[in-house]
């Protein structure tokens, strides 16, 4: 069902729900706008997008008007030009003449359109108001420059779901204000501001934007691997030396989003001046003796493939506990779903109208999960049910129903979902499983009421696109295998599209490419992980390695896409490929391996240089390629659920602060969260500690000491315990019982 009409004499057609502007953009027809932000609903406040429709008197706003069958539309005429010119004149009322010292100069919509519509003087003025510049952490707001387009508030509400920014009304006096405690410092508002009003505190005045070179790449901090541009320039005026640095990160803000880590955590490069031959020789010797390579998932597909080759040739054991549990989880899932990969992705989540989330710290594990849910809620009025033991204040606007459960009861709750959504014919083939379910017991032990589950289930009626998002709490769950199988059942028969969010940047790639082992044999080589001989991109190890903003390669994302990573900064030392070369695997560049990634896992034979990375006019992203989902053989045995273990006493949840993922984000100068235990005042009371006290405890076999802090944004009796400040990643269940000892 499409609507046919003409724009500027060209016949075009619209899908239902598309506006005139969207069709025009898709067709490459230019209509100027000031307030339109494609990723949110139209603000319709600027009137720049007006067009003429034959037979309709007056102008029509193209951004929020759908076309009608047979309409004849003109996007340009003398009258329209005059109208738009007048709008620009009004935008320029009292606008400070300070382009010379404005960070936005050179990429400012107001500047561009003022020139485009030939406004060469300020013809009107109004009484100037006294206003104050504001600073909200990474944001700097200059109300004098603000044109009140409302893009920032729209993005903060609809994309981020924070509802931090709002308009303080008052006619000409109105300005933007911030409920600062709700702000997650993502910088989305900066990226969409068409003028210099919402600016980056750190970037302010450090470079004129046209001097920066944009290097399109992928964010290295979580499994979304968001598309971004590193913007680089030489350091200092003595450009002969040629040393460069990253000044800022930008993205295609009209269509895509970034979280605070991606936008502000960019300077984690490892600067080395030359190849350290002595260290290299020492490390080679260690490689000849080593039996195991331990590595993290902060690695490209190509390097993971290289490690796999090393394993095949030299018999190393490959250890990556975090990816290992994910790998097992995914395999168990496939063994029931019948397909090698899960069916959903975050784009589907953003388009869904019903979402169940389980086992995921929504804001911090993978911020794009949060963003996708926020978009689903705002665009499709989605119903979001979140199963999690900890209630987070910041998710108020995103989560419709919080099903707060006891730690450890995930398996039983998943079984209840299966019970509710798997059709009865299918249940017949899993009789023992379904018959053994004791709903009363589960609800009692998990402290999720039966009526809560009923409400969740009832809401799914008439929903068209339900999704199920699973997070890292489940992969290391003692009952992970069975949880994965139940999720497989829900995808195959329950009508859900499932997303199994990879726990680290390239966990998915590692899980698909590498044959991982469970037990390490010493001696161990650690690549960005602990070992007897350590190669690290953080420096200070046995051999320096390039950081992920200094490497070329690809990542496999949560969306099951293979996306390109380009080097923003040069690297002058040795790389993993040099070691592989010395160990008999001949290759010139790591990216020569991109086309060799295993086809039997769904990768395609596409060379690195042929990977596309762009957007179409109407926002469709063409980036890398999708993994091929493959059929795998099904087994149908879902185990009877285990008794729910009790977790009483002081429980810590392994979870990092928003935007602080690992030692790399910690190294960057704008992300400064410290590693403290965060808990509610209720937790503090139960554990008998005060905010600011230092405690000692043993967790997962490791003795640690940390400061404790009370957070007003948390509720409940479980506290957050970060692990970003260490290479040692635990693959145990994320909730652990500990005993505090005051220092």
């Amino acid at each position: 069902m499409s609507i046919h009409f003409t724009i500027d004499g060209r016949s075009v057609s619209a899908k239902r729900g598309e506006s005139i502007l969207q069709v025009a953009r898709r067709e490459g027809i230019y209509i100027p706008t000031m307030c339109y932000l494609p990723k949110t609903t139209p603000n319709a406040s600027c009137r720049m997008c007006v067009v003429e429709v034959e037979g309709v008197s007056g102008f029509v706003l193209s951004c929020n008007t759908p076309p009608v069958e047979g309409a004849t539309i003109r996007t340009d005429s003398t009258a329209l030009f005059k109208e738009r010119q007048n709008i620009m004149k009004l935008y320029n009322v009292n606008h400070p003449l300070q382009c010379g010292v404005c960070d936005k100069s050179g990429e400012c919509d107001l500047q561009n359109k003022t020139l485009e519509f030939e406004v060469s003087e300020q013809s009107f003025a109004t009484k100037e108001q006294k206003r104050k510049n504001k600073k909200w952490g990474v944001l700097s707001y200059d109300p004098y420059l603000c044109i009140m387009c409302e893009k920032c508030t729209a993005v903060c509400n609809q994309v981020v779901g924070s509802e931090a920014l709002y308009i303080k009304p008052g006619g000409y006096k109105s300005e933007i204000d911030n409920h600062y405690s709700r702000c997650i410092q993502c910088g989305e508002c900066i990226s969409v501001c068409p003028v210099g009003a919402m600016a980056s505190t750190d970037f302010e005045y450090t470079a004129n934007v046209w001097e920066l070179r944009k290097i399109p790449s992928a964010c290295a901090h979580c499994s979304s691997a968001c598309n971004l541009n590193y913007e680089v320039k030489e350091i200092g005026i003595d450009s002969g030396k040629g040393e460069q640095k990253i000044y800022r990160v930008t993205n295609e803000a009209d269509h895509d989003a970034l979280c605070g880590a991606g936008r502000f955590g960019y300077d984690f490069e490892n600067r080395v001046s030359c190849k350290d031959e002595r260290a290299f020789a020492k490390v080679l010797k260690a490689f000849k003796e080593a039996k195991t390579i331990r590595f993290s998932s902060m690695i490209t597909n190509e390097e993971a493939y290289l490690l796999q080759q090393l394993k095949e040739r030299h018999g190393y054991r490959l250890i990556n506990p975090e990816a290992r549990v994910y790998q097992k989880f995914l395999r168990a899932f496939s063994s029931v779903s019948g397909v090698s990969l899960y069916g959903g992705d975050l784009k589907r989540v953003a388009q869904s109208d019903y979402a169940i989330v389980m086992g995921c710290a929504v804001s911090s594990d993978n911020p794009m999960v949060r963003f996708a849910l926020a978009r689903a809620v705002n665009n499709n009025k989605a119903y979001v049910g979140l199963f999690h033991p900890i209630e987070e204040e910041g998710l108020r606007n995103i989560v419709t129903q919080h099903l707060k459960h006891e730690v450890g009861s995930e398996e039983a709750l998943m079984a209840l979902l299966c019970d509710a959504f798997v059709p009865s014919e299918v249940k017949k083939s899993h009789v023992s499983f379904f018959e053994s379910l004791d709903v009363g017991y589960i609800c009692g032990e998990s402290s999720v009421g039966e009526e809560e589950i009923e409400r969740l289930v009832r809401q799914r009626v008439r929903k068209k696109a339900p999704v199920l998002v699973l997070g890292a709490d489940l992969y290391a769950h003692p009952r992970a295998d069975n949880i994965a199988k139940m999720a497989g059942l829900l995808e195959r028969f329950g009508g859900f599209e499932v997303v199994i969010v990879p726990s680290d940047t390239n966990t998915m790639g590692v899980a698909l490419i590498c044959d991982l082992d469970d037990e390490a044999l010493s001696p161990v080589i650690g690549y960005n992980a602990q070992g007897d001989c350590v190669l690290s991109a953080l420096g200070g190890s046995d051999l320096d390695m390039p950081a992920l903003n200094q490497q070329e390669g690809t990542f496999t994302t949560v969306d099951k896409e293979v996306v390109p990573l380009n080097a923003a900064l040069p690297y002058h030392g040795y790389e993993l490929s040099d070691i592989a070369n010395a160990l008999g695997i001949v290759l010139k560049h790591v990216i020569d391996l991109t086309c060799k990634l295993p086809k039997e896992k769904g990768y395609k034979e596409v060379a690195f240089d042929d990977l596309p990375n762009r957007y179409l006019n109407h926002g469709v992203q063409i980036r890398g390629y999708m993994l091929e989902p493959l059929h795998v053989s099904c087994e149908e045995n879902i185990g009877v659920i285990a008794d729910i273990q009790e977790y009483n006493g002081t429980i810590l949840y392994r979870c990092n602060p928003i935007s602080q993922f690992n030692l790399f984000t910690d190294k960057t100068h704008q992300i400064n969260d410290r590693a403290v235990i965060l808990g509610s005042s209720q937790f503090a009371e139960a554990a008998k500690i005060k905010s600011g006290e230092e405690v000692r405890f043993v967790i997962d076999g490791r003795a640690m000491s940390r400061k404790f802090q009370v957070s007003s944004k948390l509720k409940g009796t479980v506290a957050y315990h970060p692990d970003f400040d260490s290479f040692e990643k635990s693959a145990a269940y994320r909730y652990q019982k500990v005993t505090f000892e005051r220092v």
């Binding site: 010292v101 003087e121 009107f124 009484k127 100037e128 005045y205 470079a207 046209w210 005026i237 003595d238």
Partner: protein, 215 residues
Amino acid sequence: MHTHDTHEQHGHGESELGNRYISEHYYYVDIAPYPTTPWGKFSRALKRTLRGELFVGLWVVLREMFKFDIHTVQYPKEKLLVGPRYRAVHAMQRLFESGTERCIGCGLCEKICISNCIRMETRLDEKSRKEVSEYTINLGRCIFCGYCAEVCPELAIVHGPRYENVSEQRAHYIDYAGMLTPIDMAISGEQKEFDGFGAVTPHEDARVKQTPLAY
């Protein structure tokens, strides 16, 4: 007539354009045909040698020497005044009275520079203003085109009259401090407003329109 012939051969438009520069009283010099035979060339050389034209030139020099009315500038003891629109080594101006640096770090000079020889760095200063922290012009590459002075919205960068650029290095840089008017000169009013390339023209006052203000 030789030259004339070539003119005729060109297209219509171009010959007209060429003629624009030929005043009416100009005429073509009748040049005898060049000798082509070896003998012809030899006899021409012989004629030229013996005609004594060299002494004509020598005589002119001698005559002028004794007139004691010499126009030669005794450089470097004497220097010619250069016109205001002469484009020599750059200078950075300050505001009169306050002595504040005029340059706001807008970067337009760096952008427009045709030989890519300006590099600058800016930052946020203590008063939350944009400040130039480093600035340099590579005079080894500068072609003294004047674009930087012309584009500068603040009349900050100008071409000074200093045309002596002897340097021992091929790449000869000047930096911000070297170009900047010393502050005492600015405050005492010794700094001259620049009226050369890129400066406001004398009748500018009449053309300037006031920005409307409603206080």
